[in-house]
Structure formats: C-alpha cells, structure tokens
Subunit: 254 residues, 2 copies
Amino acid sequence: MQNPLLLRLGRYVRLSASDRAAALRLWGQRPLRVRAGSDAVREGDAPRHVLVVVGGWACRYRHLEDGRRHVMGLLLPGDLCDLDVLLMHKLDHSVAAVTSLGLAQVSQAALDEATGGQPRLLRALRWDAQVRAAMQREWSVSLASRTASERIGHLFCETYLRMETIGRASKGPRGGSCEFPITQALMADITGLSAVHVNRTVQALREEGLVRLHDRVLAIPDLAALMSASLCDAGYLHLDREGRHLDAEDGTDE
Amino acid sequence: MQNPLLLRLGRYVRLSASDRAAALRLWGQRPLRVRAGSDAVREGDAPRHVLVVVGGWACRYRHLEDGRRHVMGLLLPGDLCDLDVLLMHKLDHSVAAVTSLGLAQVSQAALDEATGGQPRLLRALRWDAQVRAAMQREWSVSLASRTASERIGHLFCETYLRMETIGRASKGPRGGSCEFPITQALMADITGLSAVHVNRTVQALREEGLVRLHDRVLAIPDLAALMSASLCDAGYLHLDREGRHLDAEDGTDE
DNA sequence: CGTTTTATTGAATGACGTCAATCACTGTGG
DNA sequence: CCACAGTGATTGACGTCATTCAATAAAACG
C-alpha cells in the first residue's frame, strides 16, 4: 500500500479491504488546490468540511492582535484535520498551504458514510486524532522546556519520523533523508524563535554533523544521535501498532 | 443544574433529562481519591479508565530526561481526560493531583453504556474534547509568542473563565474572583518561565492593578482589561452554545 | 537578468534564568 | 508554649540566551 493515509492508519491496525476502500473514498472527495502561501481556511470561518491533505504540506497557525504569528502544527500528506471540527461554529485557527497543496474536502455525510459500516476504520481515525493531540502537547514541551537547538532538532526528528511512516523518507548509507520544504522563517514561527536565531542554530547543528539541510531536503546521518541531542523520545508518536489485537483477517501489508 | 460536568456540556447544547442522567452515571463511577502532589496515572502506564475530575484540580505533565518538567494542561472539576485514551497502549504523559483530588474512573463499558442511546451527549463530549484541543493550541501560542506577563495574564483569564463556566467564580463590585490553588512554582512549569520570574511578573501585574492573588484566591477587577493586556481572545473557548440547534426539548437551564 | 525571497552575518540590547539568601507561614513534636 | 523543619513567596546581583536592527550574500523566480 502506498497511500499516505492508509500507511499512517496502518501504524495503528491492519485494515480490512473494505476499511481501505472506505478510507480511499475520503481521499477522493472533491479535491481542492491551494497555492503555496495562501490560506485554505481562516480563523473565524464556519468549518464546512473535514480536510484531508492529499499532497503537499500545510500548517495551522494563529495571529495575535499585534501581528505575532505562531504555527501550531504541520499537516503532511495523509493528515486529517480534526475529525470533529464540524461540531464547531467557528474555526479558532487558520490553515495555510506551505507548499502547493491538494486538499480533499470531506463532508459530514461522506465521513458518516465511509465510517458507518467500518468501526475499525473509525477507531483508527480516532487513534490518529489522539496521536495528533500528543504531538500538540509535545510541541508545548518543546516551547516551554527545550533550548533552541533541542527545539529545532526535535522538529527535525518528528518530521522525519512522520515522513517515514508515510513512506516519504529514504535511507542510504549516510543515514535517512526526506523532503523538508520549511523555510527558516517558518521554523521560527513554529519554534517561537527569531529567524535569525533559527539560522544560527541550524548552522550549529550542521557543524556538529547532526543534520544536513539544503535545497529543501533534510538528511539525518544518525537519527539516534539527533534524537538524543534533542531529548526526543518517540513514544508520543505511538508507532507500535497499538490496535494490532483488532487487526482485520484480510489486512495485508503490501 | 449545579454539576460542573453538566454546566460545562451545557455550554454546547441543552441536554435532555436522559442525557443528564447518563452524564451523571459517568460522574458516579468508582471515585478515587488522590493526595495533593501525587500522581493519578503515570507516563508509560496502560490507560484503564477515562478519568473525570469530580473535585479538586489536577494537571497533565511530562518530564524530560534531564529533569525539566512541563505542565501541559490543567484539569478542573467536571473535566474529562481524553474520551479516546483507551485506544492507546501507553500513556504519553502523567496526571498529578494539584490539590486533594477526586476522580471518577470510567470504563469503556460504562462510557459506551452512558453514550449509547444518547447521541446528543456524545456530541457534547466530543465538542468538549475539541475545546480542550483548542486550549492546548492556545497554550502553545502563549509559550511561543506571548511575553512573561502576557502568559501569566492569559493563564489567569483562561482559568477564571473556565471556573466561571462551571459555576465556581463569584462576581462582586470589585470584579470577579475564583479559587486558584496554583503555586508560583507550578505556574512556572506551566508557562515555561522560572519561578523567580513568575514571582516578579505576578507582582508587576498586581502593581498595575490587573489582578489580586492571595491565599489561593484570584481576583480580577477588570476582566476585559486583563484580557486585553494578555492578548486573550476567548473565541477558542467556544462558549457560545454552538450546538444550540440540537437543543433538547426538555432541556432546561436551572 | 532584474526582482523577490531566503539565508547569513555582526553588534547592541533586553528579557529571562541562575544562584543564593531571606522572610512569612504552617504544622509538628517536645 | 516554643524550637524546628518544610513549603511557598520574595529579593538582589549577575550571567546568558535569544532578540532586534541592519546590512549583505545567495538562491529562486518570472
């Protein structure tokens, strides 16, 4: 299986053929293109769909009144944006395209139809939402307790691991690497640092040999070393197939 | 209605009598006492219940390997700790009692039984989880983008508003006030500041006349002024009864 | 090719942390 | 009743990490 959503949900449980078919119906739903840099949805809007990232990267963000911006999450291909968002009247944050972006817009009816007869799929989606909440908490830990280089190193580790789970990382003799289309200015808005300090910190990590980052490609020669230097413990990503006791009989891995 | 859980869910939708009865069955479930300062559940444990705070205050926290601690959320009476936590194999953070604490331990079976025939109640609980996620994001905004005094002021505003929605705040001629059993050391772990700096910042807020804080009681003479000084926009708390179109016929307010 | 975005560098400043000591308050045992 | 320890709040001096401002270099883009 190559679909990022299926790869991701497969970290929780082996889906049956009909689960997978239902998940793919979400995938195909009314896709929308968003240009890099512009907003897909905006704070204050009434949510009309559950969004699924089909291609490209997006971010959730919020502005403070005086213009300061904080990016509170990254959305990668296969990521689903708030299963229960349609309960709310207004969005409390915006979502912007980081790169050129493809979004599936899933209506409540489409969601109900896809999950109605597939409790295993619904559980996988709920698990995914829990993991997303854990990531949010971990970003809080970073902002509150990690130093600049730990924050940035942690962002690299987490993003690399997320890319790996959706089959978008490659491993070579010099470690793993993945796409990383995040400018230093955006990294600043994520980590709560200034762009200048991000720049200096990235350079320091490079000089220590912990990462290579050029041309929107992130390479990590020794992931364990970077994780350790960044105080990153991957437990919160819950990558160990916690729902395996619910595996479908016909759930295969290929 | 006086029950904090019902008051809180009532911010979303008017519950029917049978919704309320079902919610109260969660409330009564096998209550557990935890002494102030000790852990209710610990990172790495297998979750066995959904926890509901019946009385007292708790906090979610995580330690980094070198001992730094971050508190990533406060749990007040009526708060429910992760509707879907039982999907996970391991907890990724701990929960400690801030004050002497009463916890209802709700099993999956009890949860299913309570929500099975009450879709309105289930929606209210899901709405609550969304609001909780929004609070988590807002704490990230604080840590990344707000100054020390804005962070602390924001914590005061949010906590006061949460206490107000559960009927635990009182209003007088000199503004509103509520219990606030949080030591400055704990405020430091919440805001990512040092305890010393929290102390100085609280004093500054006092001298500006924005808050009074003594003997575990927080008083806010002018909430609008404090909110404005802290760049606090209450939108993310979603306090405006967003599910009112789903109100039960027999849902009364008393 | 110019134009814009992104990355990089230096110097000065400032917000916040650390260390260390003191003070107030509480509860405890003698 | 008082000595004592323990917790939480407070203060001062000093150090440091990160910000800001400003300028430049290097890429990316049309």
